[in-house]
Symmetry: C2
Subunit: 196 residues, 2 copies
């Protein structure tokens, strides 16, 4: 089955849009999705940014929030701006790596994004992440895995892999050697994956 | 007739994509296009950039060139990277403001973008701009207008207006009070204009 790698960062607003639609789109085209969490912080830091570009560049930020409102409305998705922004997605990203079952993994990612950008909740809060786990049929106790040294190392490795693939933002999609950036390129990426 | 403002910068790669399709799309939806040249240099300088973000952030730049190759191929547009990049579009932008006839104005913009990104030519070269003028039925001598103090002032005013509208990149589209950024939003912007 053809595959697409979906590289997402939980702090990323446009990753929310892709997370909520990639699986349905992939299934329609006979493509399988590899869910790849990573952290943009180290990548941004390497290019001199100590914050989200949407905070560093205010006009770009004001536009992004308006754009997200419009796109969410078009797609029938709830949208609520979380405070603070960007959210700290470290524990959520580690949790994704600890979930083996691919169906539950994908459902957990969607649950976290829905909590964060659909309901404006703080996804670094254990209670919020616990609710996300429960909602996909996993025990709240699984959160302890986010302190597992092997899982911590796995997320660092994910971010290194993202850098080696020349990723600079999220969402990003990798099909073979081809990189696609942004929710606006998801359809092209899926089409490419389906024709390989 | 409903209107859309098309704000473009001649150095901008993605503005090429929009320039080559906006008029046909607008006509299909009964929308009239206002061609608005401006300079991104002062806007970028105000946020601390002394060069194109595609040069300042190399991974983003490498991706942009690949993305432009793919999108141009999809649309049957020739694409050749100009050297140097970004090109200096100052004279070309002034020339646009000096052309009154809206049909020739639009045709001149397309001729400049085609020279720059279709053929990789240097658009700060008077010979190149002269060929663009000739190709749309205007005399080469019209280039002298780019030294007219009133035209110079008009371009500075355009850039101030762009800043007052919170523009931060190109292409940008303005419909009433709504701002849309990027060739990926052109279709949404035209739809919005056609329903006002």
């Amino acid at each position: 089955m053809p595959r697409i790698q979906f590289w997402f960062e939980f702090a990323s607003t446009y990753s929310y849009l892709s997370a909520m639609r990639i699986e349905e789109l992939a299934v329609q085209h006979g493509v399988s999705v590899d869910w790849q969490p990573f952290l943009l912080g180290p990548i941004f830091a390497a290019q001199g940014w100590d914050n989200s570009p949407f905070n560093l560049y205010p006009a770009k930020g004001r536009y992004m929030w308006r754009d997200m409102e419009r796109l969410s409305a078009q797609r029938g998705l709830p949208f609520k701006r979380p405070d603070p922004f960007p959210q700290n997605g470290l524990k959520a990203a580690r949790m994704v790596l600890a979930i083996q079952d691919p169906v539950r993994k994908a459902a957990f990612v969607r649950a976290v994004y829905s909590a964060e950008f659909g309901n404006g909740l703080n996804i670094s809060d254990d209670a919020v992440l616990g609710d996300c786990l429960s909602s996909v049929g996993l025990p709240v106790e699984a959160l302890a895995r986010t302190q597992d040294p092997a899982i911590k190392a796995a997320l660092i490795e994910q971010t290194s892999t993202a850098q080696s693939k020349d990723l600079f933002g999220a969402p990003s999609f990798v099909v073979g050697d081809a990189l696609y950036w942004g929710d606006d390129r998801l359809d092209d990426a899926i089409m490419m994956a389906s024709t390989i």
